[in-house]
């Protein structure tokens, strides 16, 4: 019986091998073209294009290979850009390989560390926070596009700054991480407040109103993921401060802005105005389940909020609170976002530059196309004036939120990410976790600075 089963396995294996050809590289499986028969939305038409291009290689004359993630957002945007570019360049082809960010990072590091850059694509999407680290660690993997003809002044300065290393540009900015404060206007109303009350305020005012709302409605104003330093970094950047100084030294323990930020955070948790949850899924859950009355995060959080369709019309957007008593504090900040980088493995840099210049860095029409169906917001300043951006959004109380957010982007202070960004981020997250649990603030900041110094090899 067992022998028969083994034999059957052999037959199946041989059959499958015969069908899908082991050992050779470019054969595409037939099934992907059958899937495209499902007529649902533009994603499918885009997928058709993707499939028929899947056999092209990186070295093809008019093909570009791209690594990025999220079919509803980044991949969709790339494919729309390809459509627009093809109008003037009909033999252009785009090959998008869906790759989660963690894997983009892993594959990039593996390729660069092993000295074999041939597996890299032409263009890859990179988190803004990782630009400094990657370009400084592996400069040989990227192409300098400072003088390529792309007009970087059309983008929000704070955004461009992320992908500038040693004065050279390495990235074309893409998705917007401008911080917005979202509030459930119905819950605010219940407690007697309006969205205006939360515009252009400071954190002390926010906490004061938050306590009142908590008393009256039982709902905190905000939730965040414990053990992550998103909120801290957002507050820090809103005053133009960073975890590193201009020379690249850690600026943690004697950083007055950071001290104020930590105190504010601890106060938020202590009063119950902000609750900490344990992971991302629960964070989104707390918003869509009406556990909290709002959130403060990068504008990409809008997509998650909108999954709760029954809450349409009950949300409003405004700017975030500013730090009290800090010189240079503003109501604007940034969290996340990514930019397109051209790798050194790109055989046709002119094509890549031209493609990006004519779409992501030059086409208002492009941004108008991708906004309605994906909510993908730009950092491309000319797009803010378009009608599409000015359209009222019913979900968010009928306001023209997209234009508002692009306006916020222009007012965001830059910060200094630093090469050791992730080490510092984690050290600060550890510190705040201990501070919330009752540890001494100064001592924890010192620990954090020591950890970062250690990581930097000092």
């Amino acid at each position: 019986m067992m022998k028969k089963r083994i034999f059957a396995f052999f037959m199946i294996t041989t059959l499958i091998l015969a069908l899908t050809s082991c050992g050779t590289e470019d054969k595409k499986t037939d099934s992907s073209s059958n899937i495209a028969n499902n007529a649902m939305d533009t994603t499918n038409d885009a997928k058709d294009t993707k499939d028929s291009n899947a056999t092209e290689q990186t070295s093809g004359d008019n093909t570009l290979t791209v690594w990025c993630w999220d079919p509803a957002f980044n991949i969709y945007a790339m494919e729309q850009a390809a459509e627009i570019y093809k109008r003037d360049h009909p033999d252009f082809a785009l090959n998008v390989i869906e790759t989660p960010w963690a894997d983009v990072q892993t594959k990039l590091t593996t390729a660069a560390a092993s000295g074999d850059l041939s597996t890299l694509p032409d263009i890859l999407l990179m988190q803004d926070n990782a630009f400094q680290k990657n370009t400084i660690s592996y400069p040989e993997a990227f192409t300098d596009i400072t003088n390529s003809g792309i007009d970087f002044s059309q983008f929000s300065a704070a955004k461009v700054a992320y992908s500038v290393v040693d004065g050279k540009n390495y990235g074309v900015p893409f998705d917007n991480g401008t911080v917005i404060a979202c509030y459930r206007t119905d819950i605010l109303e219940e407690a007697g407040y309006t969205l205006e009350d939360f515009t252009d305020i400071t954190w002390s005012k926010y906490i004061e109103m938050g306590k009142d709302i908590l008393n009256k409605t039982g709902k905190p104003l905000l939730s965040c993921t414990a053990g992550e330093s998103d909120v801290i970094m957002m507050m820090l950047q809103s005053a133009g401060a960073s975890l590193f100084d201009a020379e690249g030294n850690p600026d943690i323990v004697d950083n007055p802005v950071l001290v104020k930020v930590m105190e504010t955070y601890a106060e938020l948790v202590k009063t119950g105005v902000m609750i900490e949850v344990n992971d991302w899924d629960q964070y989104v859950g707390s918003i869509t389940n009406s556990t909290v009355a709002g959130t403060i995060n990068g504008c990409w959080i809008m997509a998650s909020i909108q999954t709760a369709e029954d809450q349409s019309g009950k949300w409003g957007i405004t700017n975030m609170p500013a730090l009290d008593g800090i010189e240079g504090a503003t109501n604007y900040s940034n969290n996340g976002g990514s930019s397109w980088a051209i790798t050194s493995n790109c055989k046709n840099v002119d094509l890549a530059v031209d493609f990006l210049a004519k779409t992501f860095a030059g086409s208002v029409e492009f941004y108008e196309t991708i906004l309605p169906s994906s909510g993908a917001l730009a950092t491309y300043l000319p797009a803010a004036d378009s009608d599409v951006y000015g359209k009222p959004q019913e979900f968010f109380g009928g306001e023209a939120v997209y234009a508002m957010i692009t306006d916020f982007a222009g007012k965001t202070p830059s910060n200094n990410t630093g090469v050791y960004y992730y080490e510092a981020r984690d050290a600060v997250a550890t510190a705040i976790a201990n501070i919330v649990a009752g540890a001494d603030l100064k001592a924890e900041l010192q620990n954090a600075q020591d950890t970062v110094n250690f990581a930097m090899g000092r």
Partner: protein, 299 residues
Amino acid sequence: MSRSTRKHSLVKRQKLTGWIFLIPATILIVATNFYPMFKAFLLSFKAGVGANMKWCNFYNYARMVKDTVFIQSLKNTFFYLIIQVPIMLILALILASMLNDRNLKCKGLFRTAIFLPCATSLVSYAIIFRSLFAVDGFVNTVLIKLGILSTGYNFLGFPTSAKIIIIIALIWRWTGYNMVFYLAGLQNIEYSLYEAAKIDGASPLQSFWKITIPLLRPIILLTAIMSTNGTLQLFDESVNLTNGGPANATITMSHYIYNMSFKYVPNFGYAAAMSYIIFLLVAILSMIQMKVGDKRYEG
């Protein structure tokens, strides 16, 4: 040729056959494991960022001693090892023993059910565990209803309870896996031995101790070494359940090594050095286990 010479050359040929049988597997392991291990070992004596690595002798190893995060991860990993592995193996042994009983019905269903956790995708089981132990999650709801707690306890937010959640997750996930090995091993024990013992008046517990455990010893050794190796190299749970938190209270060595290579500024020399410390620990523990447990009964 005399009879003893013929037997001698026969034995020699058999031993040669033995070598031929194991050559393919050995070559594969040497090529795909030992060679990269050797290169990684060399790397552990270099320091530098990215592609510019320079020799630095024992700098990386010395540095480890001052690395508070590494030391914490070492403590955490050992905590898991000492508590989780014995509980899991004993549980797996008991379950396998029960499911080997000829007179038990629905064995197939039970076996598949208990094996399911290790086949369950990491993504989904992580989401489920995290939501089960959330402040407003299922476990807290039940505990509040039973009156044991008055408000939800943040299991994943406190160091000790977070570590315990990881241990629970590990036991849940890997008991079935080890049970499979024991089940297979139990098939190789003659049933007549149990019958004879019963006739001699032995209780089930005595049969278990005097027959099952000794004869299952080779497989128990296998699972002990595999579990030691697996727990000391633990990665998935630290990343997906707690992300190393709260404040590095649950981070494992492999998780820290991964961060050192791919999340932070790449420091492969240091990562390699830490990997070799893991290697040393696993090797020592495994060799001890082999010395103590690897007995052969001739004849």
